[in-house]
Amino acid sequence: MSKKSTASASKSSSKSSQKITTSSTAEYFSKNLQQVGFSSLTKAVLTTLKEAVDNALDACEEHEVLPEITVTIEKLGAGSAKNSDQIRVKVEDNGPGIDADDVPKVFGEYLASSKFGRGRCTRGQQGIGISAATTWAQLTSGKGARVITKTPAMRKALSCTVEVDIKNNKGVQKDRETIDWDRPQGTSVEFVFDGRLQINGEAGLQNYLMGTALVNPHLKLNYKLPDSEPQVIDRVSDVVPEVPDAVEPHPHTMKLGEFMAHSHLFGRMKASAWLRKGFSRVGDSALEEIVKVHGLRKAVLEKFVDSLEDQEFKDLFQAIQKAQLKAPSTQSVLSIGEETLSKSIKRLGPVDFFSVMTRKPTICDFKPVEVEVAIARLEDKALEPDSSVQVLRFANRVPLQFDKSACAIVQAITSVNWKSYGLAQPKDGLPIGPYIIAVSVVSPFIKFKNASKETIDASDELVEEIRRTLMQAGQRLCRHIRAEDKANELEQKTRHIEQFGPILVQGLCRISQASDARRKKAEDGLLKILGRDARETEQELKTANENLSSMEEKREARLNPKEAAVDEVLVAEVVEKAEKAEKPEKKTDKKKKNKRSKSTAEVVA
């Protein structure tokens, strides 16, 4: 595990009357834990759990291990602070384990991370969260994190308590011992701290665990919450998602300064070669376009990149921004995929029907982003039918549970006219009904509004991208609702015939003083008329169901391109053409190749 320590520069000033001191990163965070998710007793429990689970999942994925995580949360008694409880959160995984030397860095040192700034879609990024959890436990209960870990290379497991040396931003191990552990590898981390339990509701632990299961179809989750029986959520996919390596940057994702700084990494090289080698999605056709269409002098491309003038950099940058480049590579963005999402959504509980949508990655605010949406109608419709839909938000497959209204996802949901898809919706509000709308935003660089990563910044571009995904999912959902409406209509019409027919005829007979024979004849006639109407509706229902089946078949075909031999040939052709058109990007293994084929298949489909 690599380490990136904080550079702390000491400052002095002869003019200043007060002495300027330097604080460690740990000191800063220990005084500002509210900035990283510990702003209340309730949030402390959820943030601790979240950080531990995120680390476990990231570690498993990094080492291609199918994760099995066991979560135990207990209330031990009264906490040290007023009106608080002492809570124990324990998270165990079957991951690769942590090398003994790295344990204090992982749990006790801020900004010690193997993922910082790498441009990958991992859950954790900076190396703050789990150290903050240790600090919170240390500050409220006097004890840090209790860790047991074992790598496959270790004969015995390491057991220790990690605490944060706040003055020096260092992890300190205590009570270190080696123990026998009944598993080949894994990590168990336990925190005891002041907190308050919130099991249910939007910001509840249950919601977090269900959301985590939804966007991690390969996860087997065992959990035990206070006052309830242990639960097991089995995995629905046996494929460990491969977190793609960062690809070369896309020119449209950069600002001028970054563009110029990027050139320094390549030494003496022609600008044209630099553009082709140093960026993704820039090929010969793009270089031709910036010269012919966007008016860049050809000589600029022929110059060595280390001798380009500032103005030339600017011209080159502006021209390439105007060029019609392909969207950023899907390889840098990890998607759950419609197929696995379809399986996973059923783990939330019995659903009537659902609709999933995965959009092609696009650029929002200079960064590649992929949005996925799953909408499900719950079978248990009696459950508060008039309340708003349940919204599950995810950023890089981590549930977001606070500060809902400011989030890009919620703003996008409220901006959609759900009435046109058959859902009730108050003006400018969330739609109403027994539905779950899950929105996952995946990007190597998600723009959060705060360090505790609770809300995605609502930029216009991102909101629009989420909105489009929601609308596409809404269109798919709408077919189900229409088919259901037709079925209801047919049932209602049939009921109408049986209910009102005799009443109408009898009323007419009484007023017109008609005989029984006329009544009988009229009743027969009425049934014939209304039967014709019902048959028409039956036909409409049949058509609606056929449309729905056809949509499902198309979706299946899109998700399983291997089953469609013809599609496979097309895919191969398209890939071949694409590779000829531009320099092939590095492919390290067969798995990546398959992944690319699949994404292209989506384009073909």
């Binding site: 109408l504 009323g507 007419l508 017109s512 009425l526 109407d533």
Partner: protein
């Protein structure tokens, strides 16, 4: 349109028999009802009120309309029974009576009304189907004509048992007379000559004028319109116009809503009640004001229409539509009224009837003086 008491049962029987005959042939029965909407309204100043055009609403029996038709036939039976026995009921009573029948007979349960609006709609549908007034089906709203004051008016009412009751309005003190909405049972006469009848939009303002001695000083009838005039108010004004042959003046706010919804309804009826406007409109009633010219003449406190007030903005938009589509405002005899609407749309200002009170705050009978002066001068439309 049925013209006598016997006509409605007869027309109903024929209609039901026709529907039944269609059903026997497995042919979809069709009911044609007069379209009661502005696009089917005709206004002729010689007739004086909005009359229906040729457009009909066609209701064909199908699975969607079977409930509506079943309810209509069921309610028609109840109403015919009333006509047979001479029973009279309000809409609300009919709602509960119907519910009673339905609760008692499980077979009728699908017809059940969940709220009064549903049974009211059914009664209106029957009226359109038979082209008759609701009142002709012995169904009256629980309503009375506007509060009326006069020192000269005498009303003789024929009671259901044939006896007569005479009401001398000058003997009622500060109490107003409010007739039940069956003006055909009322006979009006004058103890002394009555110069005019003043209908005031706000009942409160009517009461204030009377309290300040209006009816003592002027031989007149003074009535409150209760905002948008109900059938009872409209028929009461019609009775005054027909029986007493005196001039009628309407005094209300200067705004689009008053002109279109209150005054036009009183004078020419409404599009929703096309088939009964002949008995529920008083075509002779004149618009006394507030007129746009009064603002300048009396220095009245007017003010701009609030741009963010949805109701006022809607009324102005409706006024624009009225100028284009309402035959009443398009008639050449009503050019002056159409001009007021145009003035309201272009100036976006309004003035309340109560503005007359502030012309001279020291003189409480100033509104009375202005009203009488305007009548004398013929300053009205």
């Amino acid at each position: 349109m049925p013209s006598s008491d016997q006509a409605i049962p007869k027309v109903s029987k024929e209609l039901c028999s026709r529907l039944l005959a269609d059903l026997e042939k497995a042919k979809r029965p069709v009911i044609l009802a007069t379209k009661c909407a502005l696009d089917n309204s005709i206004y002729n100043h010689k007739v004086g009120y909005l009359t229906p055009g040729d457009k009909k609403v066609r209701t064909e029996l199908n699975v969607s309309s079977v409930k509506k038709m079943s309810r209509a036939i069921f309610m028609l039976e109840v109403l015919l029974q009333n006509l047979d026995t001479g029973g009279i009921n309000t809409k609300r009573e009919l709602y509960y009576i119907s519910k009673g029948y339905i609760k008692r007979d499980a077979g009728l349960k699908p017809l059940d009304f969940t709220e009064q609006g549903e049974s009211d709609e059914t009664i209106d549908f029957i009226c359109e189907m038979l082209e008759c007034y609701r009142e002709e089906l012995n169904c009256y709203a629980n309503d009375r004509g506007g509060q009326t004051y006069s020192q000269q008016l005498i009303v003789t009412e024929t009671m259901p048992d044939g006896t007569k009751a005479t009401i001398d309005l000058s003997k009622l003190g500060t109490s107003p007379f409010q007739p039940k909405n069956r003006p055909q049972n009322l006979k009006l006469s004058m103890r002394k000559k009555i110069d005019f009848c003043l209908i005031v939009e706000s009942e409160g303002t009517a009461n204030t004028l009377v309290a300040n001695g209006f009816t003592k000083r002027h031989p007149s009838i003074l009535m409150g319109a209760q905002g948008v005039p109900s059938n009872a108010v409209r028929s009461w004004c019609k009775a005054i116009q027909e029986q007493l042959k005196i001039p009628l003046y309407f005094f209300g706010d200067l705004d689009a809503y008053t002109l279109q919804n209150i005054y036009r309804t009183l004078k020419a009826g409404s599009a929703a009640s096309l088939i009964r406007n002949s008995d529920y409109s008083a075509p002779e009633v004149k618009f006394l004001g507030v007129l746009p010219a009064d603002i300048k003449k009396y220095d009245l406190n007017d003010y701009p229409v609030k741009e963010n007030d949805a109701q006022e903005v809607r009324a102005l938009k409706k006024a624009q539509d009225a100028l284009k589509n309402d035959p009443f405002f398009q008639d050449k005899k009503n050019k002056g009224l159409a001009e007021i609407l145009r003035w309201l749309i272009s100036n976006k200002r309004r003035c309340e009837q109560q503005a007359y009170f502030s012309v001279n705050p020291k003189d409480p009978i100033m509104p009375e003086k202005i009203i009488v002066e305007k009548i004398k001068r013929g300053d009205y439309f």
